[in-house]
Amino acid sequence: MKLKLILPFVLFVIVMGFLAKGLFLDPREVPSPLIGKPAPTFTASVLSDASKNFSTADMKGKVWLLNVWASWCAACREEHPLLLEMRQHDLPLYGLAYKDTDTEANAVLKQMGNPYIETATDASGKIGIDYGVYGVPETYIIDKTGVIRYKQIGPITPAALRDKILPLLKALEK
């Protein structure tokens, strides 16, 4: 059999391999280019007291999670019980109220419980843009030196919590 005649079949098999792999990928997911890079700094007013501020500078030397959410986001509500559970286990959870009003955001926290140590506000969405937020909820894990180490796109699932987030937090705390 001449070599060139089998070539179409070989090319086909290669393409099929990629297509098969593709069935298990999500073409809509946009991974963050910020992983391994310093978290964008910001200072913003805090949800519980508009005169107080929260700044990323305050978090230097600490490992923390930044959960971007909004009162108008349905998936955030789904995620909420898990966040409360995380808080019960003393995980360092901070919130960013994205493109929201203080009134609405506070109302949600009152109604569903507040899992955050503190929530910064980002009414204009500018902080969100700096973090590459495109679909709330999104959660970032930031290490002691202020570098983003992980981004969860969409609600945190029990599996992601167990397999990725908890081990990473443990490793970063050392």
Binding site: M1, K2, L5, I6, P8, F9, F12, V13, V15, M16, F18, L19, A20, K21, G22, L23, F24, L25, P27, R28, E29, V30, P31
Partner: protein, 654 residues
């Protein structure tokens, strides 16, 4: 009851397809003509049963039977009747049923024409089509059953996506499917030839009309889709290089290559293995397209709801059908023989160069479409490949092919010489260069894109006239009328199709180069001048449609005082899906389209408005129409030449 009949018909059809797909092949192996003779009756039975199934589903839509899940998710009782019937292919399950139904139509057609071929050959042909049908029917029955019941029945349906409530929806999918499902016939011809071991001029002569017919449908389907997007989507775009658009365009490119390759095979009994490979490729790309749209592997505005398990099924089907065909090709292609000789410079070679260009173009589109997946699968991140890539690469690849399009019809068969070609074409080249510079200078704007586009277009058009003139000159007839009469429909077909491409390129170049867009805010009574056209905004009034409410604007358009049109763009609300839709208003003309869309209502009764002047945009689809017409002319030629001649080597047409 009726949906159950439909479901049952489908199961029976599957059984007949199994018979159709396996027994004749067993007959081929064992030289048993009784088994081979089963092909036609099994195929016809299958086709009729599929037709029954399709009609049952259509009836469910007609009768607003919302106890059928698929009807409830795609239709609504307020939907106008024609869209209720077209909604059958508005979702994944129904469109798969359309797929097999169209395959059944082609199968039925083949059973009527195939008897002129030897039994061994046509029974294999029909069997292969049967196997394709088996795979698709299994897919439908096991993963995508359109007859699934919804219990309790819904009170009313979720309505057809408002975007699809348009005459385009009635014609575009069926035409498109007739096209790329039609390539299954060429595919079956190729497999039959490989199995049979015989591949000669007769084979090429038989395959050609089927391939051309499928190609015509595909051309019309793609053109219609593009035109529909243009007037429906509100921003005057007509091609986005979206994954699903590419999925229909790749078979078209390969199909075009195939038509040209068949000409060489028919003429010189040459490049047969290549032609067979192209036949396999064209249909493979059709199947690949079906996969891409339904598997969730790529994002697309057209994509049906994705489901990895369905994707797996189709992938497996692809692997068997295409993989099997390519293995068969590798094993059997050497037996088909080499064919006659021709020179390096000759019409045959130019046709084959056209093939190389078209295949590389199709390959590039495939590369661009799959590249994001490739990169992601290798863990190298996520990128997007969009119109900027395709526009640049596709045009760059096609440009040499378009240049050769002018040379090919003028070159002689078997042997041509470069000096001879240069002499014949020098006027065409001169005219093209001059026109490509003249038009922009008259219109006051010249860019590289415009110059190159117009050069290509004028080159094709003038070389069409040159080849016509050469043919007339070569004629021995006395009167001009007789000279024209002597030319075969196939030759006219070639001229018309090539002219169509030239017209198409004029349309694309002029629109991209010279269109004007104005976004503005207009008060009632206010008038604005865009490129010499005066648009007066006469206000907005509420209207009501069968399943929507709307605000309809009125624009009085004049040029230098002469009334041209009253344009009435609308802002529609479809209550069932809660979707708001812009319906643009277009005054179409040969030389320009005037296109107005309503934006938003602003304070004090003013509106934001978008006005486009699009020069020559209709030439895009007129060009496509001409290409299809060219194809039809070559088909007519087939019929005039009597069937008995097909068995001789002589009397080949262009």
């Amino acid at each position: 009851m009726i949906p159950e009949i439909g479901h049952f018909s489908l199961i029976l059809a599957f059984l007949f397809a199994l018979i159709q797909g396996t027994l004749p092949l067993a007959g081929l192996a064992k030289n048993n003509s009784m088994l081979m003779n089963l092909a036609v009756p099994a195929a016809r039975a299958q086709s009729i049963l599929i037709a029954i199934s399709f009609l049952c589903l259509d009836y469910a839509f007609y009768a607003n039977d919302f106890s059928v899940l698929y009807v409830a998710s795609t239709s609504n009782s307020n939907l106008p009747i024609i869209y209720r019937l077209a909604a059958i292919w508005g979702g994944h399950e129904g469109s798969m049923l359309l797929w097999v139904s169209i395959l059944a139509i082609w199968t039925m057609a083949v059973t009527f024409f195939a008897k002129k071929l030897p039994l061994r050959f046509y029974s294999t042909l029909i069997a292969v089509m049967g196997l394709v049908s088996v795979g698709l029917l299994m897919f439908i029955l096991f993963t995508s059953n359109p007859f699934e019941r919804l219990i309790p029945a819904a009170i009313d349906g979720r309505d057809l996506n408002p975007l699809l409530q348009d005459p385009g929806m009635v014609f575009h999918p069926p035409l498109l499917y007739m096209g790329y499902v039609g390539f299954s016939v060429a595919f079956a011809f190729a497999i039959a030839a490989l199995l049979d071991g015989r591949l000669d001029v007769t084979w090429a002569r038989w395959t050609r009309p089927w391939t051309t017919a499928a190609w015509i449908f595909l051309t019309l389907g793609i053109a219609l889709g593009s035109r529909w997007a243009y007037y429906e989507l509100g921003w005057g775009g007509w091609w986005f290089w979206d994954a699903v658009e590419n999925a229909s365009f790749m078979p078209w490119l390969v199909g075009t290559a195939l038509i040209h390759s068949l000409a060489v095979t028919e003429k010189r009994n040459a490049f047969k293995a290549w032609t067979v490979l192209l036949s396999i490729c064209a249909f493979s790309l059709s199947l690949l397209g079906t996969f891409l749209v339904r598997s969730g592997v790529l994002t697309s505005v057209h994509a049906f709801a994705s489901d990895p398990s369905r994707g797996m099924f189709i992938l497996l089907f692809l692997a068997i059908v295409i993989g099997g065909a390519l293995v068969l090709f590798a094993l059997r292609a050497p037996t088909v023989g080499l064919g006659e000789k021709f020179e390096v410079v000759s019409r045959e070679s130019l046709l084959l160069t056209n093939n190389v260009v078209l295949i590389v173009a199709a390959g590039s589109v495939l590369l661009g479409t799959l590249y994001p997946l490739l990169i992601d699968a290798m863990g190298m991140g996520k990128i997007s490949v969009g119109p900027p890539y395709f526009d640049a690469v596709f045009v760059a690849i096609m440009a040499p092919g378009i240049f050769l399009m002018g040379v090919g019809p003028v070159a002689r068969w078997k042997k041509a010489t470069l000096p001879e070609l240069a002499t014949k074409l020098r006027w065409a080249l001169a005219v093209s260069l001059v026109s490509a510079l003249l038009v922009p200078s008259i219109l006051g704007k010249l860019t590289l894109m415009i110059f190159v586009g117009l050069l290509m277009a004028f080159w094709i058009i003038s070389s069409v006239f040159v080849s016509l003139r050469i043919r007339l000159q070569a004629s021995q007839k006395d009167t001009l009328l007789d000279k024209f009469r002597e030319i075969t429909p196939a030759f006219y077909g070639m001229l018309v199709a090539h002219l169509g491409l030239g017209i198409f390129i004029v349309g694309v170049t002029m629109v991209k180069g010279y269109e004007t867009e104005q976004d503005l805010r207009m008060q009632i009574g206010e008038s604005v001048n865009v490129r010499g056209f005066d648009f007066r905004f006469d206000g907005v009034k509420p209207i009501r449609g069968p399943n929507y409410v709307a605000k309809q604007g009125s624009f009085y358009v004049t040029k230098k005082g002469t009334e041209l049109a009253i344009l009435t763009p609308e802002k529609r609300l479809y209550p069932v899906q809660g979707a708001i839709m812009t319906e643009a208003s277009i005054s179409a003309g040969m030389l320009r389209d005037l296109y107005v869309s309503l934006g938003e209502e602003l304070e004090q009764g003013a509106w934001s408005v978008r006005i486009y002047i699009k020069p020559f945009v209709q030439w895009i689809w007129m060009g496509a129409l001409l290409m299809a017409l060219g194809g039809i002319l070559t088909l007519i030629d087939r019929r005039y030449r009597s069937i008995s001649k097909n068995l001789n080597i002589e009397g080949a047409s262009t």
